[in-house]
Every structure is written in C-alpha cells, then in structure tokens.
C-alpha cells in the first residue's frame, strides 16, 4: 500500500507543486489549504505523514502542530517553511524534521524516505 501524506499549505501553486513532486515519488497525496481543513482530514483519514507550512492565515503552523500532537501523537510531521527563525521555537522541536523551502525539493524527498524507512525498521 502507498504511504499517505497530507500537505497543509495555504498557497495554491505551492500546494500543486508539492503534490505533483511527491506523487512522482510514489506517495498518495492529500492537500489542505488551511490548518483547520488539515485537522479535519487528520481526524478522518489514516495518514503516514504530514507536511506543514508555518505562516498561514487564521491558524498558523505551530498552532496546527500543537493540535496534531494532542490528537495523533505518533503521526510524523515535517515542517516545511521559508522561515528559519522558528527552528528554535519550543514547539517546532516536536516536529520530526524542519526543512527550509527550496525549489530543489530533494532535501524534503530524502527526509520523507528516511522517515518511512525508519518506520519500517520499527515494524
């Protein structure tokens, strides 16, 4: 079965780019344009990973991360943001990885692969 990834990203074009690029890697991709929408998908779907943008209107990424932690403690989360300054934020330590956005997405792709391989070992 394909690994299922949720991308929470408010920018439409970015959302589309990440979806396409990660589908190429062989994952099943769901998307949400806001924290709120993302959280309701997390409630319903059985997911393997969440990729989370930080600066979003209404509910920002760190708040979303806090809610994910309280609902699905074992769901891996990768913060994918243009901002590096939240790296030292207490909450962002709780994420499994913090990656700075880049048009070369190999760092993100490698990290995802690494996380899924680690999960396999645990099983």
């Amino acid at each position: 079965m394909k690994n299922k990834i949720l991308i929470i990203e408010d920018d439409e074009n970015e959302r589309m780019l990440y979806k396409e690029e990660l589908e190429k890697e062989g994952y099943e991709i769901l998307t949400a344009s806001s924290g709120k929408e993302g959280l309701s998908i997390i409630e319903k779907e059985s997911l393997n990973l969440v990729i989370l943008d930080l600066r979003m209107p209404e509910m920002d990424g760190l708040e979303v991360l806090g809610k994910i932690l309280s609902k699905r403690k074992h769901l891996p989360v990768i913060i994918y943001s243009s901002y590096s300054q939240y790296k030292n934020n207490f909450l962002s330590w709780a994420a499994d990885a913090y990656i700075i956005k880049s048009s070369d997405m190999s760092e993100l792709k490698n990290k995802i692969r690494e996380l899924f391989e680690g999960q396999k070992d645990e099983l």
Partner: protein, 441 residues
Amino acid sequence: MNNLKKEIWMVHFIVKELQTTMDIDEIIHVSLTGITAGYFLGFSRAFIMLYDKEKNILYGEKGIGPFDQEEAGNIWSKIESEEMPIEKFFENGKKEEIKNSRFNIAVKNLKIDINELSEENYFKKVLKEKKVFVIHNVLDNPHIPSNIKQLLYPSDAIISPLFTENKLIGVIFADNSFHRKAITEEIVNLFSIISIHTALSLENFFKYKQIKDIQKQLIEKEKFATLGKVASYITHEVKNPIVTIGGFSKQILETDDMAKIKRNAEIIYKEILRLEKTIDNIINFSTVSPISYQEIDISTTIEKTIEILKREIEKKKIEICNLTYSYKIKCDPIQIEEVFLNIIQNAVENSFEYGKIEISSEIVENFLKIKVKDRGKGIDENMLEKVMDPFFTTKKKGLGLGLAISKEIIERHDGRIEIESKVNEGTIVNIYLPMEVKNEE
C-alpha cells in the same frame, strides 16, 4: 556705574549667555571669556579641566590667554584693545584663534591624577571641599601640581570647583601672570558665581546629551523592529513565489509533455507578476511623496471611492450610507483618496454579506472628523495596536501596508487616525484632518 551695579550687570550678562547655549564648547568658551575679558573679571588667563570620576583624573579641556610674556604683549593686547560691541563679545570670531593658541594646546595636554596628589594640594582640596581658593605666589606654593606650575609665572591665582548638587564636573583655574592685579574679595565672589553657573550649564548639557543618546537608541530599536517585519514580509512574499517558480521550472526541464510545459509557464508567469507587485509595494512604501494641496469636497471624494469599490460592494450585497456633508478642506487629493480607498475597502472586506457601512462627518475642534463604521467581523483586541504597523496583516491576500500608508499620509497632513473594534460587532475608523492648513508648501 557704581561697583555693585557693574557686578550685577556682568554676572547677568555671562549667565544669560551660559543659559542660552546647549553646546559644551560654547559653554566653556563663554565662561572662560567672561573670566579673562577686561570688561569682566580681567584675569590674565583661565582654563577649565573636566573630572573623570571613575579614573579620578582631571583632563585639560580649554584655556584662554597668552602663553608667555611675549604673547601677552602682542596678540592678546591687540585682541583686548579691539573695539567690539558687547553683544558680539561671545561670538565665534575669536574661537579659531583661541583654539590654535599655545596656551590652549598646553591646557589640552594637561592631565592630573588626583590619587597622586597630597591632601594639601589645591587641585585635590578644591574637589573635596567644593569651595573657592585663592593661591598667593603660585610659583612658591608647594601645593600645586608640577605640570600646572610649568605653565605659570609669578602671580596670584584662583581655583574653583565646577559642581552641582549631584555631580562633580571639574575645575576652573585663573591667574594673573601678566598684570599682577590683586584678587579682591569682590572678584572671588564673582568668580564663584560664574563657576556655579558654568557647572549648571555643563550639567544641563550632559543630561541633554544623555537624553539625545537614549532617543537615538530608541529610534534604532524601532528601526530594527520594522526591519524584522520587512524581513518576514520579504520571506513570505518573495521567497515563496521563488520556490514555486524554481520548482515548476525544474519540472519543465524534466518533461517533454507540451501541455505540462505550457501550464507550468503560466504558473511561473503569474508568480512573477505577484513578485513585481510586491516589489512595487515596497518601493511605494519607502518613497515619501510631498503633499500637493488642493481644495476638495469630502463628500464627493467619498462618493468617488465608493464608486471604485462598487463591484466588491455589490458582490457582498453591502449597503453603504454616505452621510458626509459637503465640507471643503485642503489636502493632497490623490493621497487622501488612497486613504479612503484603504479604509473603506477594509470595511467592505471585513463586512458580512448584507452588511452595512456608514460613513459620516462632523467638526471636532479644528478638525474634520470622518467616521467609517462597519458591522463586520472586527479585530481582536490584542491585534488592534498592531494593525497600523507596516507589513502586519490579518488577511489572506494582503500586504499589510494599507493602514500603515494611510496613517503615514494622515500624519503628514497633521491629522490623526484612530481605530476602535470589537470582534463580531464591527470596526470604527476615525480620521481627523485639520480644517485649516498651517504650512502649505
């Protein structure tokens, strides 16, 4: 003039000069000129040293007078004899001459370490006891630092502390090296009064400087805060489109599918338009255009703005009541229209469907007050004080500059802008513009 009258006049003159200056050089110049000028106390020479409390050292600051007998005979007698109206006395004319004089240069190099002086030394006693001392036959006196002695000739001298209630600032020293006049009780009193006023003026200067420094620091801090917001804005509005452009270009490089290439090119083009707009906004925000005053009718201006926003207003089925009177004020029409456009557009965006926006006017003191009231979603209390900061936004597609620009424009018109808001009840923006323009450029 009898003596008392003359004294009062002299002191008054010098004190007035001291009080009207906020420059350390000027204060010291006035004080030393008053002490040495024939008009006033008439000492041969005088100098000021400033006290460094932490190091317990006196440093020479400035000296006025001839270096030796020869100079006394030539230059300084010439300066003294030049006919000069009294009110010009302290003007800068002689400053350069004094600055380059040998005596001033010698004073500037003076340094006295108080720790090394005996208890009897006048330069220690004057700081400790805070009173004026007359020193007779300076060259024979053992209680004067040797480097000071090198500058002196056989004569009497006077030394006074420069101090205020809470601060020891330095000392003034004056001697009669070249004319051997006696230092009378009268002169001692006047010298002491001038010292006190010099000290007060210097303390004021130091405090003023301190305040200026703090002010400068605050401005710097504020600049940095804004800089942080600018950086955050640039990250969001510049870095994100670049990531998208880069990502989709990379896909083009990896595919032969013409449809996909075309679609990606379209996305890239749109993101570049967004970048251009962002950069235009940054440029517009940082260039301050001057105000070009013209008379406008406020009611017509508001009507014009509503017309521009007609589509958005109709889309949300919002009722707009323009209750403004035809007041005529002078302002920059283009800038003020931009303000109303920003404010009314915000009201429309914040309104719910079928909402109502009221725009009214009244005169409050010398200001025309324009009130824009919506019954929309309102602004959270803790966001309210930030809404006018540049690059602050609560909107999905906003740049966070509308209110910041509006505030800047209104303030440059000598007006002010106030916001009240309650969540789910609505927002009121009050704009105050002066009815009469003070400095119309």
